[in-house]
């Protein structure tokens, strides 16, 4: 594995690159992929639509859209010549989303997904390593929401409970902890999970606002 290196192009100055040899070939991991880089890439066949599961990101164009949005981030795992075998995407919450009430304080780790053909190679871990290696997160409450109906249980051969624990173990490596909320989608099934990571520069007051907002209270006592 090579060490991360800053890309020289100014517009891509935050991009970090890691190259890793695996028994499936050479994988290249790139964070902060701009739209211009994404254009022309293709999804590997293990990402897509299956009988009981569909990828959260349906096509390459969706990555371009995310990368164009304010603070939208795309981290890709690639194999030559131009195949996406895994990805991580994050963004500010949608305006309709409960968490948008706290403005730019909240930031969503929206999805990390690895092709069915490239699992077991720690691809998800590398994507998280690159994505989270950024001082940006120290001013944010970063959150992830795991909804069991998005999980590839069949492909992983896991029960929802095992999948949930696998996700929690992965995210906990980056300082995420499970939190409770009454947000309706999350409460629909007990295996659903919300995890958060509170940046080191997030004030006590903001933490309090978030704590109450988790339970639908916009004005804490």
């Amino acid at each position: 594995m090579t060490l991360p290196s800053e890309a020289s192009n100014d517009s891509e100055r935050h991009m970090k690159i890691v190259v890793e040899e695996t028994h499936k070939g050479t994988l290249t991991f790139r964070s902060h992929c701009p739209p211009s880089f994404i254009e022309g890439l293709q999804m590997e066949s293990g990402l897509g639509h299956f009988a009981h599961y569909s990828s959260i990101i349906p096509n390459v164009e969706a990555f371009e859209t995310i990368a164009r949005n304010k603070a939208g981030r795309v981290t890709l795992a690639l194999i030559d010549p131009n195949l996406i075998v895994g990805y991580g995407v994050c963004w500010y919450p949608d305006k309709e989303d409960r968490w948008s009430a706290l403005g730019d304080l909240m930031y969503e780790m929206a999805a990390v997904e690895v092709s069915r053909n490239f699992r077991g190679l720690h691809v998800g871990r590398r994507i998280m390593d690159l994505t989270m290696d950024d001082d940006f997160f120290e001013d944010k409450i970063t959150y992830m929401v795991g909804l069991s109906w998005h999980w590839d249980l069949e492909g992983k051969g896991l029960t929802a409970a095992q999948y949930r624990r696998m996700m929690m173990d992965l995210y906990s490596l980056y300082g995420f902890r499970e939190v409770y909320t009454n947000e309706p989608n999350i409460t629909l099934k007990p295996e659903n999970v919300m995890m958060t990571r509170t940046g080191s520069r997030v004030s006590e007051e903001d933490q309090k606002r978030f704590r109450y907002l988790r339970f639908g209270i916009k004005q804490p006592k």
């Binding site: 009981h52 069991s148 109906w149 999980w151 249980l153 069949e154 029960t159 929802a160 409970a161 949930r164 624990r165 929690m168 906990s172 902890r177 499970e178 939190v179 409770y180 409460t187 099934k189 007990p190 295996e191 704590r211 109450y212 988790r214 339970f215 209270i217 804490p220 006592k221």
Partner: protein, 188 residues
């Protein structure tokens, strides 16, 4: 699983509450908590949790592998507002099952503390590899707790008619409710 605690919730009235496993230092707070449970309800507890000596022994021999008590603690003064205990047998024949027992302080009922504790127990049960969570409720006494369990997909699987006697000697039914975890997980 201990590393997942504490977990903070905000009750319906805005009270900040922390969910966490019971520790030995909780002896006095637990005794106070159970002392405030109406005698009519204490009657149905299988252990006398207001007996200081019993409580001390119970805490000292506690084995989280078989008895996992969780309390809901008020964040500002540390008072215990509710408790739930997961009982799991060491026997491999029924190791896939846990039994829940729940109790909420009378002044803090209707704040959904019981619901949060049941949900937390279900999540904990998943992590423990449990397949079946069983809760028993005394008809006419613990109906609110039974209703909370029903909202969390516990199904009534049986009634033991006139199984318990209350303080006045009146027979009451015991309602057995079950949350099958494994079945739900394979729905996808």
């Amino acid at each position: 699983m201990m590393k997942d605690y504490p977990k903070t919730i905000v009750a319906k009235d805005g009270t900040l509450v922390r969910l966490r496993p019971v520790v030995k230092a909780d002896e006095e707070a637990l005794r106070k908590f159970f002392a405030q449970i109406p005698e009519e309800e204490q009657w149905f507890l299988r252990e006398n949790m207001t007996d200081q000596e019993f409580l001390r022994k119970w805490l000292n021999k506690m084995d989280y592998d078989q008895v996992f008590p969780i309390v809901a603690v008020k964040e500002d003064d540390g008072a215990i507002l509710a408790s739930i205990t997961l009982y799991r047998s060491a026997s491999p024949a029924i190791r896939h099952v846990v039994h829940l027992r729940i109790m909420v302080h009378p002044e803090y009922r209707s704040l959904r503390l019981g619901s949060w504790l049941i949900l937390d127990s279900v999540k904990l049960s998943m992590d423990l590899g449990v397949e079946k969570v069983i809760a028993e409720f005394v008809a006419g006494v613990e109906d609110a707790a039974g209703a909370a369990a029903a909202k969390l997909d516990f199904q009534q699987e049986g009634i033991l008619r006139e199984y318990v006697k209350d303080r006045q000697g009146k027979y009451r039914d015991l309602i057995i409710m079950v949350r099958n975890l494994h079945k739900d997980w394979s729905d996808f």
